[in-house]
Amino acid sequence: MISTGPEPSEPVDLRNVIETIPALVVCALPDSSVAFVNRAWREYTGFTPQQPTESHWQSAIHPDDRARFLAEWSLALSAGKSFETEARLRSADGRHRWFLVKKTMAVLRTGKDKPSLVTLIAFEDIEERKQAEQAREETQEQWRTAFENSPIMYFIVDAAGALISVNNFGAEQMGYTVDELLGKPLLNSFFEPDRQAVADHFRECFDHPGQTLKWEARKIRKDGTVVWVREKGNAVCFRKRRVLLIACEDITEQRRAEEAAQRSESELRDVIKLVPAYVWTATPDGAVDFVNERWRDYSGLMMDRILGWSWVSVLHPDDLSKVAAAWNAAVESGQSMEAETRVRRADGEYRWWFCRNVPLRDDLGSLVKWYGTGIDIDDRKRAESLLAGEKRILEMVARGESLAEILDGLCRLVEEQAAGVLASILLVDGGSLRHGAAPSLPRPYTDAIDGAPIGPAAGSCGTAAYRGQQVIVEDIAADPLWADYRALALSHSLRACWSTPVFSSQGKVIATFAMYYRERRSPSARDQEVIEQITHLAGVAIERKLTQEVLRRSETHLAEAQKLAHMGSWVWEARTRNALYVSGEWYRVSGFDPGAGTPTWAQRLARVHPDDCAAFQAKIERAIAEKSDYDVEFRIVPPGGPVRFIRSVGHPVLDPSGELLQFLAVEIDVTDSRQAEEERERLRQQLAHLAHLDRVSTIGELTASLAHEIKQPIGAAVTNAAACLRLLNRDQPDVAEARDAALEMARDARRAADIVDRVRSLYQKGTPRQEAVDVNQVIEEMVGMLAGEASKFSVAMRTNLAHGIPKVLADRVQLQQALMNLMLNGIEAMHDSPGELSIESGLAEDGQVLVSVTDAGIGLPAGDSVRIFNAFVTTKPHGTGLGLAITRSIIESHGGSIRAFANPGPGATFQFALPAAEPLSA
């Protein structure tokens, strides 16, 4: 349109040409001033020719485009480069249109003016094109957005299977970025076992372009998880390339739900098959359209004999009308129903079912189906009935009703349980059977068999009692056991008889229980169950009755025994202290009149000796507070009678929660034993007194020896004192030696004091006091004390003491005395023939502690080894004869024993044994 570059030879007036062209042109001079604008410009912008200046034409550019435009413009000017851009220009009516702006240089000759180089700026209207372009871009944008954000995965693959494109959603769903997937074979993303099938689908798509195929397959995500997808593929031609478009949907959840549904359906089938119930469904009109296997097996019927209304044929005739009516009513009302009915089993036995029908309704509330279940409650029913019967029988037992009535009840219970049975119970009485109960058997028959013998072939019952085993006779007419009774039984048309022995808890046959039938019959498992229950119950009832007899007898015996033992028993309530039960003897022991009724607590307290009352009450209160046993002794003062000693022992009875209810107590008249005890105590005192006298007199006799013995340490002390003084008084005092002398002196003085103490303790007349005593120590002490007496008669004393022997429980002084007596005895025996006195300790095999004193003296009088311990028997010329008797009393009062025996050589040995205070520790 516009020639570029100066064409001097061009004759045409360029300005005119420019004026005519449809493009908008601005001609600018080198100084940027505007030479002119063409007509098209003027018409478009509405500017007059004089108006446009540089700023003017630029101001026509849309403000949004202006800055960019001017930047490009000035760049083009300064670099002298070509220029092409797009910008919007404002039209005269104020609207803007898009223009393509180009710049070109031209030589302009205008009239007389010399030609000048100008810049032509041409504006070509591109508004239409621009709009079309924008519209296209928008559409593209929409599609791209749709493609990228669609909740469907899109894949595009080439004919080789490589992925050309994938939307973001698709990549994300598979756990990848788009870039990670592009160019890779799409088949790789499928679960390996599915790949071949998918590859086949791809090929088929390419073979049939434009045709959409669908398939489902598993894909593997980047994290390794497997997802189920449903894909649609369509091969198209895209830029002359065959590509496959695939839209892909994740159907994993859907799949899972389907699988779960399938599983639960199969589970339901299993449940219906396995459930221990009979299950059926019925159409809304009440026709059964399904029963489970269990139902079919139970009835033994073919399906067509059950479905619809055929099932009613297995109902018990007595229940049929009732159940059918209830079912009809339910179908009518659409309400669920329940019923108990007997249903015939394949073997012909009717069993009780509990049935329930429940309607299933759809969302609109209309009944679509009936579901029904039946549960076999026959065992429960029977058990209930048997249990109720048992309870009835046990109540009869508890009420103490007569055995005949109880057994009668038992027989009737059996007859309720099984139809056609005639029950009989016979009691074992020595070698024969006595009539117990048989309410349904003919009287002449029971009379005839009453007193029948027990034997190896004595009908069912006599044989069962004989064998201690159940005897089943299915046919009385044929069984040899019935030889003696066959005619009798058959005459009363009894055909079968099963008899079972009834055992006591000790395993003794006490009765027989028999079930008679009027036809040949053998017991079913259920019959055996009933038999077992009934025989057990009969055992309990009969034994209980027998025990009651025994109990009555033993109560009589107890009363006798209490009377003999002066022992009364009673039970009293802890809260009120009231007696709940007292035995006959209790009255006599406590000194109350049985005719005056049970005494109150206060009356009882009034009888207690005033001196004992406080202690008695304290013990009882404590037993109540602590819920513990009590054992109390007290005196009672019966009116007009002598004081009696009573020992009362009580044991608390607690309820299951530990609450104290009562005390079970016995009271014993211990007056006699108390008096004996007092007598024993008096004897003990006498012994203690006598022993004391003996000690005192013995020590009196020993005075000279003891004085000698005590003078030993005193003499030593005096000598030491003298030596001490002399050592100190020397020209060169020997202080060290003097100090030793002084120490020695102190020791001597203590020795003297010890002897005095020992002697004094023997003088004491205290109450005997038991303590754990080391016999070795006692021996050492007595050896020390009697050293003087021994040396007076030139008797050497030697000890041989066993170490580690246990202590004995004894009164130390009395033990010393016993030993002293034996030692003095030995010394005295050697007055005329000085020798050795040996004292030994040891442990006997039975754990007792042994002490023996052996002398070499005159020995024992022949045959006197026992008599020697009696009082006033003495072998010594000056003996009082009491010493050994007291020694024996002392040893025996300590639970020990003493004996004397002659030595193989000269002299005698006295040995005593005492029980150890505590067992020797191992």
Binding site: A704, H708, G715, A723, R730, S794, V795, A796
Partner: protein, 208 residues
């Protein structure tokens, strides 16, 4: 400090503290002392030639002090004995003193009494020893006599004259005279009276 010829005191007592106290006392005055728990132990000890004495407890097991004293006398052991007892009675004391005890002390005794008794005992022993020595000499002399001379000596001691002796022995008076002279010379007796004392000391039986 204590010389070997210092008198030795033996103590026999069955009470150990008493023995120890005695030893201490004796040592404090410079005496040598040894103690024994029983007479048997003491009898096993060889007695020294030097001066010694025995302090003896009366009451002892198995063998009493008095028994020991008797045994020593019987064995001819010359040792002065001082008795000590815790409880002395008169018969016991008499018995002991009769058997030649130096002293009889009762426990508790005064130390000076014991020491005095020991001194006395030792002195007594010295005298006894002297006498025994003299008697020994006399015995030696006596043993040099012939049988006839001993016969003559016996008769002389009984107061016979030479003539009577000759008559008695059936010898001549001259022979008797010779025997008499021999006896007097051998026995170193100055006079018949002295010879009589010697005979008495030798405890010769008197001829009758």
């Amino acid at each position: 400090m204590i010389a070997a010829d210092t008198p030795l005191v033996f103590v026999v007592d069955d009470d150990a503290p008493t023995r120890a106290a005695m030893l201490r006392l004796l040592k404090s005055v410079g005496l040598r002392a040894e103690s024994f728990a029983s007479p048997q132990d003491f009898l096993g000890r060889e007695l020294p030639d030097g001066p010694c004495c025995l302090v003896l407890d009366v009451r002892l097991p198995q063998m009493s002090g008095l028994d020991l004293q008797r045994r020593l006398i019987a064995d001819g052991v010359q040792i002065p004995v001082i008795f000590i007892t815790g409880h002395g009675d008169i018969p016991m004391t008499v018995k002991a003193m009769k058997s030649g005890a130096v002293e009889f002390l009762t426990k508790p005794f005064r130390d000076q009494d014991l020491l005095d008794a020991i001194q006395q005992a030792l002195q007594c022993q010295t005298e006894t020893r002297q006498q025994q020595h003299e008697i020994g000499l006399l015995k030696e002399r006596y043993e040099t006599l012939t049988a006839r001379e001993r016969e003559v000596m016996g008769l002389l001691v009984s107061g016979m004259l030479t003539k009577q002796i000759a008559s008695r022995l059936g010898t001549s008076e001259i022979t008797a005279q010779v025997h008499r002279g021999q006896v007097m010379r051998k026995m170193q007796a100055g006079s018949p009276a002295e010879l009589g004392r010697i005979a008495e000391r030798l405890k010769l039986p008197e001829s009758s």
